[in-house]
């Protein structure tokens, strides 16, 4: 079973390496959105510092969501998804493999670039560390929850926008605690509670989301 997991992961990573444009566009979107805020709000250091946690987090949310449309769509179009559903291994495990590959390619780059963006908005030191940590815990949750939405909206017209409408309300708890963690540390408080909750969300979604996404895929392929 884990052999198949590794194969799915390996295959998706190989595909990402051979077609990196999709990866880069997600990252560029993230960077551009964050850069828009000073342009929209004004370059005052104080203001930017106050909104930094929210801005980086919302941008990560949106970038994550944008990349979700591609999670299953190419497999759906070339028939690989059918073969995956008919594989001799539990579908949730295979779906988890795809989600992990997706996160490594779309989520992890955001985490790695975030400190640079945080600096741009005036954050420093411990705050940046918490920013990275919160995104490290939170972006996998976004990928996991988003996979359920992506599975439900496979092949539908208006797919991307519909996916956003379905998935953004579910993202709110992650946003609240993720941005909250950064904001807490910036104000000199502890972020342990926030980060623990994010960790709990991660565990919960790893247990439940692959199963729900697999059901969604079966429903969409029916």
């Amino acid at each position: 079973m884990w052999v198949a997991f590794k194969w799915v992961l390996k295959r998706d990573l190989m595909l990402a390496v051979r077609g990196p444009s999709e990866v880069l566009t997600t990252l560029m979107f993230f960077i551009i959105v964050v850069s828009l805020f000073p342009l929209g709000v004004g370059p005052e250091r104080e203001t930017l510092m106050e909104i930094a946690s929210g801005v980086v987090w919302v941008a990560a949310l949106l970038a994550s969501m944008l990349s979700l449309g591609r999670l299953f769509s190419s497999d759906y179009e070339d028939g690989s998804l059918e073969q995956l559903v008919l594989a001799a291994h539990p579908l949730p495990v295979l779906v988890l493999g795809k989600i992990v590959a997706h996160w490594l390619v779309s989520g992890l780059p955001l985490v790695l670039v975030s400190p640079v963006l945080g600096l741009q908005l005036g954050l420093d030191g411990e705050t940046l560390a918490v920013l990275i940590l919160s995104l490290l815990l939170g972006t996998p949750v976004l990928s996991l929850i988003g996979a359920v939405g992506a599975g439900l909206t496979l092949g539908l017209r208006g797919g991307g926008v519909l996916l956003s409408l379905l998935v953004l309300p579910l993202y709110i708890p992650v946003l609240v605690f993720g941005a909250g963690a950064v904001e807490a540390v910036r104000s000199g408080l502890e972020a342990q509670a926030h980060l623990s909750l994010l960790g709990a969300f991660l565990v919960l979604s790893v247990m439940l989301a692959p199963w729900a996404a697999a059901s969604a895929l079966r429903i969409s392929l029916d």
């Binding site: 359920v148 439900l152 519909l162 409408l165 309300p169 579910l170 708890p173 609240v176 909250g180 429903i219």
Partner: protein
Amino acid sequence: MRLFSKDFWFQFASPKTFYPFAGKLIPWFAGVAAVLTLVGLYIGFFVAPVDYQQGNSYRVMFIHVPAAWMSMFIYVVMCAYAALGLVLNTRLSDMMAAALAPTGAMFTFVALWTGALWGRPTWGTYWVWDARLTSELILLFLYLGYMALRSAIDDPRRASRASGLLALVGVINVPIIYFSVKWWNTLHQGASVSLTSAPTMAKTMFAAMIVMTFAFWAYAIAVALYRVRLIILERERHARWVVELAERER
């Protein structure tokens, strides 16, 4: 005794039997709704005393609070029907979920709008990001998402199963979302006047709210039954009993 036999109740799981049954129930619930609304509004607007803090403007609460309660209650019921439909594969459960969604969304919208009406004279602004209003807003998005997914899928079976799964995911998330928003709100708001933090509610105020809640509940049932009959006719339009019904109506 017929009432105690399982078959008596299970027959209502069939759209064909449920259709006329629902039709008979609608006028009763509509009537109850109308009467209770009149009573509730009378108590709320004429009998309940003027609030020493907020004057008369608080009276919109008699619509706001019951609407908010109904919006949440209907969401849970809708998700229960959706889950039943998904697990037991019964068409009628799913049709009930579809019938309830627009009514639930409407109550959410009413709750938000009356919340704004209450907010203006009380806080000076039409909108505040307090925990309840923000949760209502998110609930509205959940309703709209459910309805949008349904309407985006042409195949009725995929539509019902997909929206059923979405409802299940939503209902698991609702407590988490509510908890997150509450936490977020206490952190950022500081001293805020909450709609339910009225120190003591006069008995008449409470009575009015309860009456209006039941009024809305009866209304929701009536409207949902009416809507589900339309959905039944549309989904089962190839069934013989529907064709015969249409012939008779002609």
